[in-house]
Amino acid sequence: MPDSPVLDRREAVARLLRDRGELLVVTGLGSATYDVAACGDDPRNFYLWGAMGGTAALALGLAIARPDTPVLALTGDGDMLMGIGSLATIGARQPKNLSVVVLDNERYGETGAQPTATAHGVDLVAMARACGIEAPDDIRDMNGLGTLAERLRRTDGPLFANIKIDPREHPKVLPARDGAWLRSRFREAVLGKAP
């Protein structure tokens, strides 16, 4: 739908994470990781730099472990499509505190903007709904983002949202990429200091 409005990815992510409260955030490799880093670093962000296809599944394990804390998997359409089976896994498990949000530019942004399946009409919202996950229609405006941002802090999910974004690239904002350091920092923020 070339005439439909789309959102700027940095503005969209900044809106979602404004007043994030207790939200724990797992980011998919590539631009989603840079977008969240651009909002300001936080020890409760777990940035993936690889493990493509694993963002939603990792967030599911975290959500099961911390059932009273809202958890957000924020990723791109390429990562979501690679791990698309995890929507079935999440739908079967129904974790109330998990949201999966896709920044859908219909491109593999890291590798030269080759079209993903969503560029050819594959509908991630319909797939999530078919898996038993509540999902609003594709989000294309700031009103929709505001409603979503409020939902992310609640624990009456699971929730899926697909945000249609402009494929324009932004300057990369690179967070730390030492996985062992990131996981220790995250665990300390969530669980307290290791004995």
């Binding site: 296809g53 694993g54 472990a65 791990g83 089976g85 498990r93």
Partner: protein
């Protein structure tokens, strides 16, 4: 195992999971894991999650540990191949991971399609820096799982316990002679 006799080793494995405070179990089923999966599904303090592919389980258990839960991945040897790239998450983040793998493609396997991944499984796991333990007898299974859980969670390392096809019993097909 002869007809009607119930093997004790799956219950012994389950006792290890409980004793070591394993809270999450992620699995793609195998007949050899069926009793253990039943026990995990029935336990009130354990969450057993059925996966669509084994690599999901690697990522899920990474998230579980980030949130303070210990987990174990149950799969058969064919699933090890599906996990390869996701194992890099565990190594890069120096996280604990324990996989309990039922072996196919050995000890009188009827289905030749199981053989290539069965043969490759120990090497693939070792190549991805998992410590590999292999239980050939029922008596070995529980102590090996216990040792693997202790070592991986105390030392932030990845390990796999292979349950040999001789131990679990070969899968029977009606067409066999």
């Amino acid at each position: 195992m002869s007809g009607g006799e119930v093997a004790a080793w799956p219950d012994a494995l389950f006792d290890v999971l409980v004793a070591r405070d394993v809270r999450q179990v992620a699995y793609v089923p195998d007949a050899g894991h069926s009793r253990l999966i039943e026990c995990c599904e029935a336990h009130p303090d354990m969450t057993a999650t059925v996966l669509t592919t084994e690599e999901e389980g690697v990522a899920l258990l990474a998230g579980a540990w980030l949130g303070g839960d210990r987990g174990v991945l149950l799969m058969q040897s064919s699933g090890v191949g599906n996990c390869v790239n996701m194992f890099t998450l565990i190594e890069n983040c120096r996280m604990p991971l324990v996989a309990l793998v039922t072996m196919r493609g050995e000890w009188g396997e009827f289905n030749p399609w199981q053989e290539p991944m069965g043969r490759a499984t120990p090497d693939v796991l070792a190549r991805m820096n998992l410590q590999v333990h292999r239980a050939d007898t029922p008596e070995d299974a529980a102590p090996m799982l216990d040792a693997a859980i202790r070592q991986s969670f105390d030392g932030f390392s990845a390990s796999a316990v292979l349950l040999s096809q001789r131990l679990i019993g070969r899968k029977a097909f009606e067409a066999e002679r």
